[in-house]
């Protein structure tokens, strides 16, 4: 009864292409965002911020980046973590070497650097597809991490290869506590998610999906395959780069190149698959799922009194099984399940 769209008529095309065409959705999302900004800081504990909310938001952003590339443009990537690393280390070096560099600009420039690396390693996608491309992105993964480890300039000649992120300060305001960092990350993620939504509902998004679904037809219609794919690589890597910088500055604080390893790339790929390929919302759902799952599992292991070493192995098994499960049963992931639930709700409680 409550979730009904009857009586909501669209009188212009601009209204019809709103992000949330149904009024209830719009209000619910606005309320949710308001809650995240205004209420959460008062109720969450520091542990909750730094162990769940901040990583959740950062991984959501990285998953969003990968989703643009894999879910929307159909180009598989196993090198997400490498792009995150580029973003983090570029931002670090901009902060270090340019006096008076504003931190937000450093994040953006970090993203731009990741973009450029993304374009470079995306070039092979013009000639190859599918798992060939997976091999090429693996090259990115190993090469970038190796480069950051072996070239001491990137880590400012730190003997251990570990960098310590500079203080986060915007217009004289210091972001020190987990709570403040959470608000910063939340703001950045909200803005970037909105931009991503805008892209996927306009021509650039349609060009990605066209290339994904049927590249020859896309070419015949006049999309330029090269430009389309490279734009996807650039935008996707930009998102990953910013996420990587936030990972260093707002989550872990000190970081070594090895932190951005293949395992992290896989994890983000899993978020995208479980959350839903080709869905902005799915990126968030997937990230939430993957962040929470180990916590829940270790709790279960703790309660049942099993040895601790079991947790990580069971985690691997559950991840693997879930990936297979979702690919078989619901390739569009949690996002589709959510949508199905909403469809049901439209009719509820009168099923006809």
């Amino acid at each position: 009864m409550i979730y009904r769209e009857s009586g909501q008529y669209k009188t212009s095309y601009i209204n019809d292409s709103q992000i949330f065409p149904i009024k209830q959705d719009r209000y619910a999302v606005l309320a949710f965002i308001a809650f995240a900004f205004l209420a959460v800081p008062f109720i969450a504990t520091p542990y909750f911020f730094s162990a769940i909310l901040i990583p959740f938001l950062i991984f959501s952003l990285a998953a969003l980046g990968l989703n643009i590339l894999t879910g929307y443009a159909g180009q598989i990537s196993l090198g997400t973590a490498a792009f995150m690393a580029v973003g983090a280390f570029a931002a670090y070096n901009f902060m270090l070497r340019v006096p008076g560099m504003p931190i937000l600009l450093a994040f953006i420039l970090g993203g731009v650097c990741a973009s450029m690396v993304g374009i470079l390693f995306g070039l092979p996608s013009l000639r190859i597809r599918g798992f060939y491309l997976a091999a090429s992105t693996l090259a990115t993964q190993f090469f970038v991490v190796w480069c950051l480890t072996k070239v001491p300039w990137f880590t400012n000649y730190s003997s251990s290869g570990v960098i310590t992120a500079q203080e986060v300060k915007i217009l004289g305001f210091h972001f020190n506590t987990p709570e403040e960092k959470y608000l910063l990350v939340l703001a950045i993620v909200c803005v970037m998610a909105l931009l991503a939504k805008n892209m996927v509902r306009s021509t650039v998004g349609r060009s990605w999906m066209a290339v994904r679904d049927m590249d020859v037809a896309a070419e015949v219609i006049g999309f330029r395959i090269m430009r389309t794919k490279l734009t996807a690589f650039a935008v996707s890597s930009f998102y990953c780069g910013v996420a990587g910088a936030l990972f260093a500055y707002c989550y872990v604080g000190t970081v070594e190149p090895e932190a951005y390893n293949l395992d992290l790339s896989f994890r983000i790929l899993f978020m995208v698959i479980i959350g839903g390929l080709g869905s902005i919302l799915g990126s968030f759902l997937g990230a939430g799922f993957i962040v929470l799952l180990p916590i829940v599992l270790s709790y279960i292991v703790h309660v049942t009194g099993l040895p601790n070493s079991v947790t990580s192995n069971v985690e691997l098994m559950v991840f693997g099984a879930l990936i297979i499960f979702f690919l078989i049963v619901e390739p569009h992931g949690l996002a589709r399940l959510w949508q199905v639930a909403k469809e049901k709700l439209r009719l509820w409680p009168f099923p006809h």
Binding site: S12, Y13, I14, D16, S17, L195, A196, N198, M199, S202, T203, V204, G205, R206, S207, M209, A210, R212, D213, M214, V216, A217, A218, E219, V220, I221, G222, F223, R224, T231, V235, G278
Partner: protein
């Protein structure tokens, strides 16, 4: 039929030869298309009809021959140049973007009219927003024209075959093409669907003056709606002319009836 005016030759393919590895798909084919006409290409399976369309809009590059489109001669078309100069097409095996809605599929046909950059689109400001709405308006007109209103927001993967064919035509029309290449637009349709499609093709030609190059198996349809017909067999052109001329061409009769 209305008194539409058939103009000069706008597309001229000369001495086209195309082969894949050792297999010859097209041998020394010359073909011209006049402005505003409906030009059919017929022939048995494997005669090279689709290959010919693919050469015209640059999907395949022929080993020999040239293509002249609107006075510009090329050794080979490329797909982008073809699209940019107003050639649109549909495919034999439907080539819609299966993950997108009908509306989005048709909107992709407008992509060459979009001037705003992806940054503007991301910010959803000014030009990007305006363009989106202008194009949406054109697309809605096409949706009305092809009677697709009821499936506007449906993902194309869920549509029945006949409607998919129509969506593909809509996507091609969205580009407001000068020339439309239709690869078996009526294949696999029942009589009613064929009639609908015929009407849409004729209306398109009539209302927008679009030049149409059409491949079709149904002889009745071809002879009814085309101005001129070219006949291919084993990659060679064996006949060309008005439907009546072609019908009485002994070579064509031989190829179709299999008489020796």
């Amino acid at each position: 039929m209305s008194d539409r005016k058939i103009g000069d030759v706008i597309l001229k393919a000369e001495n086209i030869s195309l082969s894949f590895g050792g297999v010859k798909a097209l041998t020394d084919i010359s073909l011209d298309v006049r402005e505003h006409e409906i030009r059919a290409i017929i022939g048995p399976n494997g005669a090279g009809k689709s290959s010919m369309l693919n050469v015209i809009n640059g999907v395949y590059t022929p080993q020999e021959g040239t293509i002249t489109y609107r006075g510009e001669q090329r050794k080979d078309m490329n797909t982008y140049a073809a699209a940019a100069s107003g050639i649109a097409r549909t495919f034999q095996n439907i080539a819609l973007f299966s993950g997108m809605s009908v509306l989005d599929n048709i909107m992709t046909g407008r992509n060459l009219k979009i001037k705003s950059s992806f940054v503007e689109q991301a910010l959803w400001i000014g030009r990007a927003r305006r363009e989106e709405m202008e194009n949406r308006k054109v697309v809605e007109e096409i949706i009305d024209f092809l009677q697709l209103q009821h499936v506007r927001k449906t993902p194309v993967a869920r549509l029945p075959y006949g409607i998919k064919k129509r969506v593909e035509l809509a996507r091609a029309l969205a580009a407001e093409p000068n020339m439309l290449l239709l690869d078996e637009p009526m294949a696999g349709m029942n009589v009613e669907e064929k009639q609908d499609m015929c009407r849409f093709v004729l209306d398109t030609n009539d209302q927008f003056g679009t030049t149409i190059v059409l491949i079709e198996h149904d002889m009745g349809v071809v002879m009814d709606i085309s101005d001129r017909v070219a006949v291919l067999d084993y990659g060679k052109k064996i006949g060309d002319g008005t439907p009546d001329e072609v019908r009485n061409n002994p070579e064509v009769i031989k190829a179709y009836l299999g008489a020796h």
